[in-house]
């Protein structure tokens, strides 16, 4: 089941985690730019990972949404040595899609002894419609909006 939500369509999507609240985890940040493209066109996705840690290794895993095609051959698992001199770690991906949508490239980083952290980079294609699973909502007799799921139920009658 998929409902659709119209989303704003920026020509270039920019974002960063720098300065945003972060739950406990690896001392890493992400900044990104991705191109909003037409169906079938290539979107250049540029990602920069940074860390305040200057020792150890940052292990990186990349996962692309299954409906997003990779044009460039991107390593899915790789690592960077963290050092005082090098504070930025760039990644470049080229992706496309056959359908409108808001897709994600997901990044997972780990620094030994300092935890892990997940990031997502949005990629807008065509009409940039977000496809997501949603449950239809209802109203209670008191007017409260509810999202109903079925319980596992056992009924015992005496």
């Amino acid at each position: 089941m998929a409902f659709s939500t119209k989303v704003e369509k920026p020509a270039v999507v920019k974002g960063t985690s720098i300065g945003k609240y972060a739950k406990p985890g690896a001392p890493a940040d992400i900044s990104y730019k991705s191109q909003h493209v037409k169906i079938g066109d290539t979107s250049n996705v540029n990602i920069i990972l940074t860390s305040s840690s200057t020792t150890g290794t940052m292990k990186v895993k990349v996962k692309v949404d299954k409906d997003l095609h990779e044009i460039s051959n991107v390593k899915k698992h790789f690592s960077f040595d963290l050092s005082e001199g090098k504070k930025e770690y760039p990644l470049h991906l080229e992706v496309s899609a056959d359908e409108d949508g808001l897709y994600y490239v997901r990044i997972q980083v780990a620094i030994k002894g300092q935890g892990m952290r997940a990031f997502a980079v949005p990629v807008y294609v065509g009409e940039a419609v977000l496809k997501t699973k949603k449950t239809a909502v209802e109203k209670t007799d008191k007017g409260e909006t509810i999202s109903v799921s079925a319980a596992e139920e056992t009924i015992t009658k005496e």
């Binding site: 972060a22 406990p24 997502a120 449950t135 909502v137 109903v148 799921s149 079925a150 319980a151 009924i155």
Partner: protein, 533 residues
């Protein structure tokens, strides 16, 4: 008679909601009336049962979730409604701490049990917590049983919220997740009530969705940055195979700890990324150390874990009591979480022979910490804790020393030995230039050397010019924020883009102030001169 019913009614509702294939996501559908033979109700029967949810624990090594050992956990303190075929609630009650409920309902009446993911109590102590889908009309999560006649005799209806796990991935509704999220609030509330049984908890919305993903943007699309607290709202990740937090109970409780700071205490934290080995700006170090420590206190489990990755099979953990770090000190969230937890817990280890419990900690956070004229930090917390527990002051000092923190004697932490050159407080006399250094040596934005604080006193009300100018070049971009200290509030700021200098005339009443100075460009060593005239 004992029969197990799969709730096909609610499933039918879901399918009918999707069947149109339309583009609207916010349509609210009316609950259809079910035509059933009605036998006039002439009396009542007792309906009772137990409500549970599937709790997915972490693996024994606290890395990844253990779907092979899902257990049923009581859904505590939530509203239960008996809802008839006309969508009217005909009876309601609240589950107890075992998830048990019981109420009298009309006999021979078609009804279903509805369990809401919220806790509401209006009499003191009071609370108002609900779990909503921020990507779906902010709808309250509920689970429902099937419509079935209440019959002519007492009966039991036990309901369980399933995890939706299908063996290698989630394959059906993750019904348990909102109840798992809510359970963390239950435990946190109980911990606070143990210190003050008459606490009035301000409303809290816990926003969880399977669409909540680790990117900043539109929260109605699930772009929540990460699990975090903001202005009466918790946002919790639900992005399967990347980062879900509904079963990462310490993560949720850590964020609840920020709600506590906001609503019951005061936090001057500026947020931002932080890790166990970071040397942090002191306000952030206390806030994050507190969040970690409180998760251990509320759950009575010192092992914090966060699961990530494919099938939630990876993750990391740390122990808020026995963990170690290479960057111990007054700027370390790790050091602070160990100190706070050691003050709380009854397990003596090393220099920790203190077992004060939660009440003295609550007393400090809801008392002195709220009005302290310094920025909130380990300095303000420990100063108040020692003042209020004078007989334990020596033991507290020993615990500090075990974390490379020299004795704390005042709210400003005067007398630092470890990283003394990065001690952030300075005193300024009006008309006399003050030299300070801002650096990126420990990282950017919220790290130890990124910020310096200037104390100054205004003797008479007027307009004063505050100027911060770089003396070793113009490659920096200084900014400053002005705080009145009584009551403690930010009264002005200046964050222009001119290279190497920041200047602003600010109206100030008589009193004591703090200036928070930073460098937006985050250069290696910006030597700055501060003047106030």
């Amino acid at each position: 008679m004992r029969l197990k019913i799969f709730n096909t009614f609610a499933l039918t509702l879901l399918l009918s909601g999707c069947g149109g294939g339309g583009s609207s996501t916010d349509a609210v559908i009316d609950t259809p009336t079910v035509d059933t033979p009605t036998i006039p109700s002439t009396g009542s029967v007792t309906m009772s049962g137990t409500v549970t949810y599937d709790l997915v624990p972490s693996n024994s090594n606290s890395i990844g979730l253990d779907y092979d050992n899902i257990r049923r956990e009581a859904v505590k303190g939530v509203p239960i409604d008996a809802v008839n075929s006309s969508n009217q609630s005909v009876a309601s009650t609240i589950t107890d701490s075992s998830g048990y409920y019981s109420f009298s309902v009309p006999n021979n009446t078609q009804m279903k049990i509805r369990v809401s993911a919220k806790m509401l109590q209006t009499s003191t102590p009071s609370w108002d917590v609900k779990v909503l889908d921020n990507t779906n009309s902010n709808a309250l999560y509920v689970m429902e049983g099937a419509l079935s006649s209440s019959g002519t005799a007492d009966s039991q209806r036990n309901l369980n919220a399933a995890s939706g796990w299908g063996g290698t991935s989630y394959t059906s509704s993750r019904t348990a997740a909102p109840f798992a999220v809510l359970d963390n609030a239950y435990h946190a509330i109980q911990k606070v009530l143990s210190a003050n049984a008459n606490t009035v908890f301000p409303p809290l919305v816990m926003n969880w969705s399977i669409n909540n993903v680790s990117v900043s943007g539109d929260t109605s699309l699930g772009q929540i940055t990460t699990s975090h607290y903001s202005d009466g709202n918790l946002f919790i990740l639900g992005d399967a195979d990347s980062d879900t937090d509904e079963y990462d109970d310490h993560v949720v409780t850590h964020e609840w700890g920020h709600y506590y700071e906001d609503k019951f205490s005061r936090s001057d934290s500026i947020g931002g990324p932080h890790g166990s080995e970071d040397r942090l700006e002191i306000r952030v170090a206390l806030g994050e150390g507190w969040g970690n420590a409180f998760s251990g206190m509320a759950l009575d489990d010192p092992v914090y874990f966060d699961t990530l990755g494919i099938a939630q099979s990876q993750g990391f953990n740390f122990n808020v009591e026995s963990g170690t770090s290479d960057s111990k000190g007054w700027y370390s969230e790790s050091s602070i979480q160990r100190i706070l937890y050691d003050v709380y817990d009854s397990n003596d280890d090393g220099s920790d022979i203190l077992s004060l419990g939660f009440a003295p900690i609550h007393q400090v956070f809801t008392g002195a910490e709220k009005t302290t004229p310094a920025f909130t930090s380990i300095f303000t917390f420990i100063t108040a804790l020692k003042d209020e527990n004078a007989g334990d002051a020596d033991t507290i000092d020993k615990m500090l020393l075990s974390e490379n923190i020299a004795q704390i004697t005042d709210i400003y932490g005067t007398g630092r030995i470890n990283r003394a050159s990065d001690y952030p407080y300075h005193e300024l006399t009006l008309g006399t230039p003050l030299a300070i250094v801002i650096s990126n040596a420990d990282g950017s934005y919220n790290k130890l050397s990124n910020r310096q604080y200037v104390k100054f006193t205004i003797a008479s009300s007027g307009t004063y010019t505050i100027k911060v100018e770089q003396s070793n070049g113009t490659n920096s971009d200084p900014d400053f924020y002005v705080f009145d200290t009584a009551p403690f509030i930010m009264v002005d700021s200046s964050d222009g883009t001119e290279a190497g200098v920041e200047e602003k005339s600010v109206p100030l009443a008589a009193g004591d102030y703090l200036l928070d100075v930073s460098d937006y460009k985050n250069v290696l060593n910006a030597e700055l001169t501060v003047t106030i005239n």
